[in-house]
């Protein structure tokens, strides 16, 4: 795997970019690099933001542009490549997740109002959508969109679903959703355009918790269907 390209993002940030793809192996390289850079505790580097295929490094230009170094970005980039090389920053395979969360999900009915429509669009029955959605060991690629919102890697491509043409103005907290090739859980009531297939009672974000987000970048996630038969019979009675 290549070392990342570096792009300045304004005067005080450097975006390390591995590629422009959603790929579990690339994402593992990002998290490995984030761990190495974090433990290096470079002076003036105050924030690291891992994403699908990039790591944003925010720094204080007054520290990296002094001492005759005119180009703070080049100086920081050289230092980052040096510590990534020393830390074995070339990750060939995704290591197993340090933590795996089991998240109980009620699928269908009021909890997953788009499940029935999605199943018929995909030409599957609802039980098969649930089986395929609960099969993978998902990995948290990144957090974004809203506090505690985890983008999960590993969706069965057969379940890829277009976003709704008109986003909902309010998606209930805990909604489990599919958008394109991605799946995720809404941590709070938010506007959203993904297809809602189920809901969990787990609290995904709590500012009083350390760290506040339940799902951390790199974590593993298993979705477990709660009462799949009850959901099916509930639908039958509607």
């Amino acid at each position: 795997m290549e070392y990342p390209q570096a792009q300045p993002l304004g005067e005080e940030a450097l975006l390390l970019q591995w590629d422009e793809r959603v790929d579990a192996r690339l994402n593992a390289a990002v998290h490995a690099a984030a761990t190495i850079v974090r433990s290096a505790a470079l002076p003036g580097v105050h924030e690291l933001v891992p994403a699908y295929a990039s790591l944003l490094v925010r720094f204080d230009a007054s520290i990296w542009s002094t001492g005759g170094r005119r180009d703070a970005h080049a100086a920081l980039h050289a230092k980052l490549i040096e510590i990534l090389a020393a830390g074995g920053g070339k990750v060939e395979v995704a290591p197993p997740p340090a933590r795996v969360h089991e998240i109980a999900v009620r699928y269908g009915g009021e909890d997953g109002p788009d499940l029935a429509g999605l199943a018929s669009t995909l030409g599957l029955d609802e039980a098969e959508v649930i089986t395929r959605h609960t099969a993978p060991l998902y990995r948290v690629a990144m957090l974004g969109f809203a506090p505690g919102f985890a983008y999960l890697l590993g969706l069965d491509p057969r379940l890829a679903a277009p976003r709704r043409p008109r986003p909902r103005t309010r998606v209930p907290a805990g909604s489990v959703a599919i958008g394109g090739l991605q799946t995720g859980i809404y941590p709070a009531a938010l506007p959203g355009g993904w297809q809602l297939v189920g809901r969990t009672a787990r609290v995904l974000f709590d500012a009083a918790r350390q760290p506040p987000a339940l799902l951390q970048p790199g974590d593993g996630v298993r979705l477990v269907a709660l009462f799949p038969h009850a959901a099916a019979s509930g639908r039958a009675s509607v």
Binding site: P8, H73, A207
Partner: protein, 321 residues
């Protein structure tokens, strides 16, 4: 000690220096759109730099002091009266118990920051008292309204007997968004813009659209296009990114921006011009000019040094002699 809100104003919110350090948790730094103005207002009333104050937008609040205190307003010029008597901004004024401070309309620009001696003492959330309106996060995750009561902390010093005999010169710290071109650094995808779009970015006028907010300014004007469509995956964002959604109308991100974004990044506003962007209102006409990284960095660090020195001079002046 507290403040009673008699009227909330158009979009008044509690702001401090925000929540840096939580972006990987999906929480943006946000905070005051112009941290320099908030810091200077805090210095004038004897507060620490990180004390929470009020960010006021276009039409200000009306509030009553329940005990003697002091206040200072920095930013855009606003109508400002204490019990009906006009007060000037950029100066520390005392207020007696029961007095009513009314912040009226912005005379120019859009936003100002009101510091109150002792600071607004809501319980911090993730080390900040600020309201992140876009994520509905904070001890008070919304704008202020009539009937709200805001607790004030203990002031570092007794309220002054009369308005300070000196005030700050706003000239280095306040400028409108329109007029002089705003400086842009090239973004990672600048080279992907069509030749026509590159010329339009620097040669035409963009108007701030009504759907703008603390998260970003949506810009109407010449539709910008790429040589060919570009698929990006989401990556971390910072304030000042000028991103280009498929519709061709760019969005300039402000402090309360989403933590990540997947649109092409065509340019980046120089950080030294972000305070001017906080003064943009719907309808403001913006022009852009190119700047290089060395110049932008030098200007940013010079502004930061000047602000730090001014804060120190204010603090020295407040010390009893």
């Amino acid at each position: 000690m507290s403040l009673e809100m008699l009227a909330g104003g158009l979009a008044t919110s509690v702001q401090d220096l925000g929540r840096p350090g939580w972006q990987a948790q999906g929480v943006g730094a946000a905070g005051a759109l112009d941290a320099d103005c908030l810091r200077l207002a805090n210095a004038l009333v004897g507060n620490a730099a990180e004390a929470a104050g009020l960010e006021i937008t276009l039409r200000g609040p009306c509030l009553r002091f329940t005990r003697a205190g002091a206040f200072a307003l920095c930013g855009a010029p606003f109508e400002l009266t204490l019990d009906g008597v006009p007060c000037d901004p950029w100066r520390c004024h005392p207020a007696h118990a029961g007095q009513v401070l009314a912040v009226g309309r912005a005379l120019r620009g859009a936003r100002a920051w009101l510091a109150l001696a002792g600071g607004i003492d809501l319980p911090p959330l993730l080390h900040s008292r600020s309201s992140d309106l876009n994520s509905a996060l904070g001890p008070l995750p919304r704008t202020l309204r009539a009937g709200d009561t805001l607790p004030l902390g203990t002031a570092a010093r007794l309220p002054p007997a009369s308005p300070a005999r000196w005030s700050l010169d706003p000239a280095p710290w306040f400028a409108e968004a329109g007029g002089v071109p705003l400086r842009l650094l090239p973004g990672a995808h600048y080279a992907r813009l069509s030749q026509h779009a590159r010329a339009a970015l620097y040669g035409s006028v963009f108007t701030v659209a009504a759907q703008s907010s603390r998260a970003g300014l949506r810009l109407d004007g010449t539709q910008l296009d790429l040589v060919q469509p570009l698929e990006c995956v989401s990556s971390g964002c910072v304030p000042g990114v000028l991103q280009l959604p498929p519709g061709g109308q760019p969005i300039l991100l402000l402090a309360e921006h989403p933590v990540s974004g997947g649109y092409p990044r065509i340019a980046q506003a120089a950080a030294v011009d972000l305070p001017r962007l906080a003064q943009a209102v719907p309808g403001t006409a913006l022009r852009f000019a190119a700047v290089d990284m060395d110049t932008a960095t030098r200007l940013l660090l010079a502004r930061r040094t000047a602000r730090t020195q001014l804060e120190a001079r204010i603090r020295a002046r407040l010390e009893p002699t």
